[in-house]
């Protein structure tokens, strides 16, 4: 594991407030590893052995039932995933696969549980991180239940624009089929929705998104801090 990785991990909200000795102990048992694109890192139902931290690349969290599956989130550097399962020592609810070549830090779940019992600051950070994750999923569920697919797409684009620093022009960064699945619709439906969204000020060509009329976009999907608000760090989709 590279020293600058260590520094970056140390700066994560989850790790930055804990005692140095405890951080070092955690990292002692952890290891960084590179994985090729398309690798299934964990499968839903597996026992939760490691907290995963994305150092480089991108990881898709997805879930399946019967023969169906859907994208639940995409995590980019520097974000963590499956903290909750590790803490409760129960099976993962979601699977994870690399979307590109990725480097991950794997922190043994048992170490995690041991450390937050003796480091109050780390316990507080864990609480805050989990609360953030919880709220992110609640927002996702609200979006699914309160908006139709066209509105979800528009809100998604608006949010990506904000993540890009308010740019009116940005690239999507992930495949449209993943966005579609994340937003709870088919790729065909997303494609059609995007075409009709020029009515409200969004134009998309390939990976490039241009917001041609922010006022109309804002009128169409009034952004709501209680749905579109800031997520946990590293959580892209």
């Amino acid at each position: 594991m590279r020293p600058d990785d260590l520094a970056e991990v140390r700066h994560l909200p989850l790790f930055r407030d804990m005692l140095k000795a405890n951080f070092d102990a955690l990292m002692q048992g952890a290891y960084a590893q590179a994985f090729p694109e398309g690798l299934e890192l964990i499968r839903q139902g597996d026992p939760a052995d490691f907290l995963h931290v994305v150092l480089e690349g991108a990881v898709e969290l997805h879930a399946g039932w019967q023969d169906r599956s859907c994208t639940m989130a995409v995590v980019k550097p520097v974000g963590t995933f499956i903290l909750a399962a590790c803490i409760k020592d129960v099976p993962y609810l979601m699977s994870a696969r690399t979307l590109e070549r990725s480097r991950l830090l794997l922190v043994p779940a048992s170490d995690l549980r041991a450390v937050f019992r003796r480091d109050a600051e780390f316990a507080v950070s864990t609480i805050t991180e989990l609360a953030g994750c919880y709220r992110a999923v609640v927002r996702h569920a609200k979006s699914l239940k309160l908006r139709n697919s066209r509105e979800r797409v528009a809100a998604y684009m608006l949010k990506q624009s904000q993540l890009a620093g308010g740019a009116l022009r940005f690239t999507l960064g992930i495949e449209k089929r993943l966005i579609a699945s994340y937003l709870g619709m088919t790729p065909e439906n997303l494609s059609r929705a995007l075409k009709t969204l020029d009515d409200v000020g969004i134009e998309v060509h390939g990976q490039m998104v241009t917001i041609t009329d922010m006022d109309r976009l804002l009128a169409f999907v009034p952004p709501d801090a209680l749905i579109d608000g800031p997520d946990a760090p590293g959580l892209v989709a």
Copy 2:
């Protein structure tokens, strides 16, 4: 606040492992109060001042956007809600209203935050509680994305049967319009879905549900521990 309430609260997973002194201190600042039916206890967007514990009655958590709204959960005794907002000291993502006359325990959020900083056991309990809440919402989102409305209804009935100790006959306990909203569908659609579900072994008359053919029901919605698994205590719908 009644002594037996106190005992019941003390037995909650969230509170049972903390030091007695700290529990007493928390309860010192807390107060129990009865509310009439249909009262809006909190509104989404409000600052999070109190952790709520349902001692008696039932509380609906719901969310709104534009002119729409939907039920996100129903909490019955003895369950807590809006822990995450209290911890992060940020606005509530959901509103809450009493479904019937209810008695609640209100614990000041600031006390909460102070106590888990000095009581490691309480911090661990909070972590575990939050992880459970997180997983409950993830399951809800998975259900919304992976199942159609008929399947969600069938799975809901199956789960209620299990909550009723595996009974093949049980009462719903909440209004159908709430169930519909919770499951992400209209009341009309729920009504129709229920009628067609006799095909797979479910019959509903009023509030009474009878599972007439468990095998067929299980074949139709193979229950999945990663979706239908046990929720946080007190979380009914």
